[in-house]
Symmetry: C2
Subunit: 104 residues, 2 copies
DNA sequence: ACTATAGATCGATGATTGTCAATCTATAAT
DNA sequence: ATTATAGATTGACAATCATCGATCTATAGT
């Protein structure tokens, strides 16, 4: 039998530092109210450009850009540049993976 | 029909600031490698006292106490004092609620 | 009473983080 | 070419946080 990379869950077994570090990284991206709302806005429609996020989030353009970067680095959203705009969409698989990592 | 308090998920609909704040609070408790390992240790056995966490986590007693408090304040673990020891156990419902809040 | 132990709390410190103004880059429109 | 716009980057600042030594509280054992 070949070894399959086993993504571990918190309730499964004691986590080692590597697993805990990776999980903490994604969870940290989620652990901010502005980013959670941002994520929910992006999930609501199928694509959202950065410029449409400033008003509902009541944050400046650099702050919005900062938060999209954090979510994208965590793999939770995917950005595509088209013309002057960057369009963001959710990566549902990534969110599902986080859910799984939280046991269940 | 009576209104049932609807705990919202990120992928459901745009979150308001209140919902996002609550979710961020619990997620922040999870977004730390030491606390994630702590949680996995507690989940592994059914009850763990604080003193048994210092060695595997390689952290001082005050640091361990700090982290147990953060997890307890977030409702993820429940502590019970018996004699000189505080025994910690997982609250599985709370963790399930977080999973649900992450869409699903 | 005295000693030892579990753990909470306080205070300090270094690191990380959310925020914005200013600037820079790139694309589109005239 | 010039102008306007989307958004990334930089730098600065205040706030939050993880960590630990020292101290305090409470319980158990002798």
């Amino acid at each position: 039998m070949s070894k399959v990379p086993q993504s571990s869950s918190v309730t499964d077994a004691p986590l080692d530092e590597g697993q805990a570090g990776e999980m903490a990284h994604v969870l940290a991206a989620l652990a901010d109210p502005v980013r959670l709302r941002m994520l929910s806005f992006i999930a609501a429609r199928h694509e959202v450009c950065s410029c449409d996020l400033e008003a509902p989030l009541e944050r400046s353009q650099p702050t919005v850009s900062h938060h999209t970067k954090v979510l994208a680095d965590a793999g939770l959203i995917i950005g595509e540049k088209r013309g002057r705009w960057t369009w963001w969409r959710l990566d549902p698989d990534r969110l599902a993976a986080v859910r799984r990592a939280l046991g269940g």
